[in-house]
């Protein structure tokens, strides 16, 4: 009997164990980020560039491209994005449909293991340019998460819209996205997306890591780790 259980256990361990993957990007440990529309605290940090065109032809940096940085102080997730866009249009869609217009999305997950579906701690965040006169009058919300997401704005956003695109910094408490805390060395999953709508509705979708045109499969996201700058 013991032999049978040992064999069973061995088969379980062999077939059920996961590989350990390398890290593609870093979430910087930055204890002091102010959401004020001044972006100097992000200077000198490595950025993740969305140069994979998932939809809408090939990647054309003159048309649209986003450079992203994530940071944390252990209790909040800070987001920085500098989006180059030759035609920035304020987004008038309802939050549930705001992907049809200019916007950016950040996929972030602290749940462990490969997963087809969102687990607690996995979120899709969307930042939507709503105003070119008030830098704080923008929307940030959890577009999708383990419980399905919501469209109620959360956190704080500051966005500067300019001739070559828009630059944004934002913060959202980790507890609002289902994560308790982050610490240096912790592994996470992350992905960045730019929705670009030059004339009508979205005509190009750009990603940093994944070529898959879906928002609901965390296993396709990139691999990140919390690290000191």
């Amino acid at each position: 009997m013991k032999k049978s259980y040992i064999s069973f256990l061995i088969m379980f361990l062999i077939c059920g164990s996961y590989s350990v993957f390398a890290v593609d990007n870093e979430v910087y440990w930055l204890p002091d980020v102010q959401i004020d529309g001044e972006f100097d605290e992000w200077d000198g940090l490595d950025v993740s560039v969305t140069n994979i065109a998932v939809y809408g032809g090939t990647h054309d940096p003159k048309d649209a491209e986003g450079s992203f940085i994530l940071a944390t102080d252990g209790e909040n997730l800070f987001i920085y994005a500098d989006v180059r866009d030759d035609s920035v249009r304020l987004n008038t869609f309802h939050n549930s449909l705001a992907w049809k217009g200019d916007s950016i999305e950040i996929f972030f997950g602290t749940a462990r293991g490969f997963r087809e579906d969102y687990a607690e701690g996995d979120v899709q965040l969307r930042i939507v340019p709503r105003s070119d006169t008030d830098i704080f009058a923008q929307d940030l919300y959890v577009s999708y998460d383990y419980a399905g997401g919501d469209t109620v704005p959360l956190g704080e956003v500051a966005m500067q819209i300019h001739r070559r695109g828009y630059t944004v910094e934002a913060v959202i408490p980790l507890e609002d996205i289902g994560s308790k805390s982050l610490s240096v060395g912790q592994r996470t999953r992350c992905e960045f997306q730019v929705n670009d709508a030059d004339m009508l509705e979205r005509d190009r979708l750009l990603r940093w890591s994944s070529e898959e045109d879906d928002y609901y499969t965390p296993k396709n996201w990139g691999r990140c780790r919390v690290a000191n700058p």
């Binding site: 009997m1 032999k3 449909l97 087809e116 687990a119 009508l200």
Partner: protein
């Protein structure tokens, strides 16, 4: 030719010509020319308008739905009799007309004459919709669920189909225009080298370009045939620029849009800028079920429609905005109860959400809030009118639209719109639709169903020496069931069925339902024998079945007692990694339910979310014949195309094995574990799946209390002890689907099973008679394939097997269990399984209606082809000797295992043929015929020569009548052991006539009254057969017959 003859011919010709002329004149459709013109006009100042004979026509429309409660997606109204179709149209027509509907959207199955009928009688136009392969297409005999619009053959086929559609309807009075597709842009999922070679970001657009260029070709071809406008049905506004490039010739841009209460001006501007075509909403609206309150919500459905139509008016002709929408088709006219579950719960108005749209009124967190079965602006009642048509119950939205359409969008000024819509009184419309009664409110939480059945039977025989000699014996049975379903919480459902019974039908022909052994007329209790040879007592009132379902975000808990909430039982887990079928399917359905057992009986836990894939099923009898046990499963896709399944089955109690042998053997509590991995290899032209499984079973023998219990007798005469290696099994399976012409697939599996490593048998499927029997002690290979040639499928298959421990073919005379070389309790003993075998099979299946699989369990009801058939031939090239079954004691009341027969089951070549034909030869008329013949060897009667058997059945469904006939010659009795022991009857027959009220089902009849004759003629049969098959009579009876009158009603 004489003059007289020539006059006769002339008169006859004149009469024929007169008749033809009259027919032509009276026919409403034939040779008709449209009595109106339809055109789209863009006024530079005011925008787009639709003109019929020069008059503006607002497209105030609905997507017409008419599927009755109890039917599903294959329902086709147009296959019904004309009388019924007319009644259906006359049910909806007046309501549509009174509401103000000017046009309905209908798919191409509709015969032209009904379009004309709807138009002439109710003034309602029809927009004819050709789906253009939206839900798959059959090309060169292969069914493609995801249509590949780049394939030349597919394009030619769809183009020809579109031409045919336009030709068919172009002169039909009532047709307003044609639309093609149904959000086909959401189904662009095919793969090809040409597409995969493109950069990722261009692949979807390239696929879309193929789709829209085909739309362009279809539009051009259609315009060569008709002057009526041509449109497409797009999913939202996706690919506008590609549409502009590839299909700029379309007249109407139709879009299915579900963005919420409004779509915002940018959407109309986008279409105007990119396409400059008039917009028609081909689907939009709101469901009437509130996911937040879990109640019907007529107010919010009406409120959303008011908002959506206000925007249509604002963006229409002459309003100064985009001025490019000509109307909308509300989705949909009437609720359809099949949409959740598709083929299940057809009589339940399901409230589960199937997708999520936060912009709707009942968005709650991330839960699905769109309820597919509640989109009607008219509900349908389970009650029917005298013609059997479900009653229509207009919702508030019906009256709201009636108010709105009172003034056409062309007849209102832009500045008047706010005021016009502000006075639409939705609260009043809710009141008009009827206040919810206390009964309605209770019905939200409690549902009651039930049934009543009464039957009387007379049976008689030619009994010579029987006490019942020459007598006719009567028996009767009455049964009533009462099912109550309570939903106290939106995630908790409780269901119980009580059954009351009186009387008991004597089963003179020994059916599979057990038989009476004692009856005390002055007592309320009966006792009788079940198939497992156990005596049961039955009380007049019992809990027949019960179930519960509790759902949370993390775990679902399902309770089963002879039933489940969603299914009448429990399916197997074969598609979830149970490679060795350790859990067999268990359903309470006519013909397969072992009525006296209460399986499945247990509680199932299924995890969701991060732990998705874990299942624990534990209970006293989780499947038929199971002892108290638990079943554990983990199954999940770990990586792309890589699946892992882990299964463990553990019984807590040894199985009591009833035997007539001197020693009543017990088997140890079973323990079985398996692991399964599958990898789907990504190759372009072939879908390749590799499955690999391991099994550990029979380890209970390793811990037997005595050495003897863990030993078995080998064919070489020695006694061997079961070791760990004997408990191991394995299986590897390769399956490949080749996307070539013709399309074909091949598969092969090799099975190794140690001498005690048994799984469980897999039910043969797909018309085949070969399956993995799940036995231990074997090497086995099963290989085969399917070739699709047009509507014909050719399915060859072979099997080779050899035992690890062969049968014992020589030894002492087997006069009883003690002297048998291999007793029935021997762990290696397998009923006829430990033999070498080589079989070949071919199954031919012809069925041109792909939506109803010919070999599905309920195909008798679902098959909708005019003609479909299958023919299967199994030939056994060789089968070697095997351990025989012990003989049975046979008497009129009881049977049990007895002595061992002499000799062993010999080498034989055998064959078996089976055929089935289904024809829907006329509306509401169907015939199903089956035929089987073959030679069989009986492992309980090794010395008998294989004999031929023949049997056939014919079933007719003629309107509301069911007629069934069956006849067999030299066929076995109804029980499994009849086959094993060569219990045959020279002739058996049955005839049934029933009248059905309500839905006629040949699979699960619920409402019918009828009479059935069954009989058996035994002269010429063996004395054993006469003994075994004369359950209630004498062994010398030569014939037995019974007549049963029955009445069954459900509500």
């Amino acid at each position: 030719m004489s003059r007289i003859h020539s006059h006769r011919y002339a008169r006859a010709a004149w009469r024929v010509a007169t008749c033809v002329a009259l027919l032509v004149c009276l026919s409403p459709v034939a040779f008709a020319v449209l009595p109106y013109s339809v055109e789209l006009n863009k006024d530079a100042e005011n925008g787009w308008e639709l003109l019929v004979d020069g008059e503006q026509l607002p497209v105030n429309g609905v997507v017409w739905s008419f599927t009755p409660i109890g039917d599903d997606f294959i329902y086709n109204l147009w296959n019904e009799e004309d009388r019924f179709i007319r009644r259906m149209i006359d049910t909806d027509g007046p309501l549509l007309q009174a509401m103000g509907v000017r046009a309905v959207r209908v798919f191409t199955q509709i015969p032209p004459k009904w379009i004309t009928y709807l138009y002439r009688r109710y003034g309602i136009y029809t927009i004819v919709n050709d789906l253009m392969g939206r839900y798959g297409v059959s090309v060169n005999g292969r069914w493609y669920p995801n249509t590949d619009y780049s394939m030349p053959e597919t394009r030619e086929l769809l183009l020809a189909q579109a031409r045919e559609t336009v030709e068919k309807f172009k002169d039909t009075p009532g047709v307003l225009f044609f639309i093609f597709g149904n959000e086909n842009n959401y189904g662009l999922q095919w793969k090809s080298d040409a597409i995969e070679d493109l950069p990722v970001g261009e692949r979807q657009q390239e696929r879309a370009r193929f789709l829209y260029s085909l739309f362009g070709e279809v539009t051009a071809a259609s315009k060569e045939i008709t002057d009526l406008p041509i449109g497409i049905v797009n999913g939202d506004t996706q690919y506008l620029t590609i549409i502009a490039e590839e299909a700029s010739n379309i007249d109407i841009f139709g879009l299915n849009v579900y963005r919420g209460p409004r779509n915002e001006p940018i959407m109309f501007q986008s279409v105007a800028t990119a396409l400059d075509k008039p917009i028609l909403y081909t689907e939009f609206g709101s469901d009437a079920f509130n996911a937040t309150t879990q109640l019907e919500d007529q107010y919010n459905q009406a409120r959303f429609l008011r908002s959506q139509w206000k925007e249509i008016y604002e963006q229409s002709y002459g309003k100064g905005n985009s001025q490019n929408i000509i109307g909308g088709l509300i989705f949909q006219w009437m609720d359809e109860w099949w949409k959740y579950g598709l083929q299940d719960d057809l009589f339940i108005h399901n409230t589960e959400g199937t997708w999520r749209q936060p912009a709707y009124y009942d968005s709650i967190g991330g839960e699905n809030n769109m309820n597919e079965e509640w989109w009607g602006i008219v509900a349908q009642s389970p009650k029917t009118d005298k013609h059997g048509i479900n009653l229509r119950v207009p919702r508030a939205a019906y009256y709201t639209m009636q108010d709105i359409w009172e003034t056409s969008l062309y007849d209102i000024e832009g500045g008047q719109i706010d005021q016009y819509f502000a006075v639409v009184d939705i609260e009043g419309d809710v009141a008009r639709s009827g206040e919810r009664t206390l009964g309605d409110k209770i019905a939200d939480y409690v549902k009651i169903n039930g049934s009543l059945a009464v039957a009387g039977r007379g049976h008689f025989s030619d009994a010579i020496a029987s006490e019942q000699s020459g007598a006719i014996n009567f028996s009767h049975e009455e049964e009533a069931t009462f099912e109550i379903t309570v939903t106290p919480l939106h995630n908790l459902t409780l269901q119980t069925t009580f059954r009351a019974q009186a009387g008991f039908l004597d089963d003179a022909l020994y059916d599979s339902y057990g038989y009476l052994i004692t009856r005390e007329d002055d007592s309320s209790e009966f006792s009788y024998i079940a198939n497992d040879n156990t005596s049961y007592s039955r009380t007049p009132i019992e809990i027949y079945s019960a179930a519960f379902q509790y759902e949370t975000d993390f775990i679902d808990i399902n309770g089963y007692f002879h039933d489940g909430i969603d299914l009448p039982g429990h399916p197997d887990y074969y598609l979830q990694g149970d490679f060795f079928y350790l859990y067999p399917e268990t359903f309470d359905r006519e013909g397969i339910d072992l009525g006296l057992q209460k399986a499945p009986f247990g509680v199932e836990f299924e995890t969701k979310g991060i732990a998705e894939g874990l299942t624990l099923f534990v209970g006293p009898e989780i499947f038929w014949g199971a002892e108290p046990a638990l079943y554990f499963k983990f199954y999940r896709e770990l990586f792309d195309g890589f699946y892992l399944g882990l299964i463990h089955y553990e019984a807590f109690q040894e199985e009591q094995f009833n035997s007539g042998l001197a020693v009543t053997p017990n088997r140890f509590p079973e323990r079985k574990s398996s692991v399964y991995v599958q990898y789907d290899v990504p190759i372009d032209f072939v879908d390749l799946h590799i499955g690999l499984g391991g099994l550990i079973a029979g380890t209970e023998y390793l811990t037997a209390a005595t050495l003897e219990e863990s030993q078995y007798r080998s064919a070489d005469g020695t006694t061997k002890t079961i070791g760990f290696a004997d408990t191991l099994g394995g299986k590897v399976r390769l399956e490949a689907l080749f996307n070539l012409t013709p399309v074909f697939n091949i598969y092969a599996e090799y099975i190794y099973a140690g001498v005690v490593a048994s799984g469980r048998g897999f039910l043969p499927r797909g018309g085949s008679q070969i399956t993995d029997g799940g036995a231990s002690n074997r090497h086995e290979v099963i290989a085969g394939g399917n070739i699709w040639i047009g509507d014909l499928v050719i399915s060859p298959k072979i099997r080779w097997r050899t035992p690890l421990e062969p049968a014992i073919v020589s030894g002492p005379n087997r006069s009883n269990g003690e002297n048998s070389p291999r007793p029935v309790i021997d762990p290696v003993y397998v009923h006829g399984g430990n033999r070498e075998i080589l079989q070949g099979e071919i199954v031919l299946t012809y069925d041109f209606t792909g939506a109803t699989w010919f070999h599905e369990w309920n195909n008798d009801d679902r098959e909708d082809a005019v003609f479909a058939a299958s023919l299967g031939l199994l030939y056994t090239f060789y089968q070697g000797p095997t351990d025989p079954l012990p003989e049975l004691f046979l008497d009129s009341n009881f049977f049990g295992y007895g002595t061992w027969p002499a000799g062993h089951t010999r080498e034989e070549n055998l064959w078996s043929l089976q055929a089935r034909v289904v024809s829907n030869f006329a509306p509401r008329s169907k015939i199903i015929a089956t035929f089987q013949m073959g030679s069989d060897q009986n492992i309980g009667r090794p010395d008998t020569t294989p004999e031929m058997r023949y049997s056939g059945t014919v079933e007719f469904e003629l309107h509301d009548f069911e007629i069934g006939l069956g006849l067999s010659h030299n066929a076995f009795g109804p029980e499994d052991w009849h086959f094993n022991q060569n219990i045959r009857a020279p002739w058996q027959w049955n005839a049934l006539l029933a009248y059905h009220f309500g839905v006629l089902s040949l699979v699960e009849a619920k409402n019918r009254i009828g009479v059935e004759f069954r009989g058996r003629y035994l002269e010429g049969g063996t004395s054993e057969s006469r003994t075994a098959l004369n359950t209630l009579g004498s062994a010398t009876d030569l014939y037995r017959m019974e007549v049963t009158l029955f009445y069954e009603l459900s509500f």
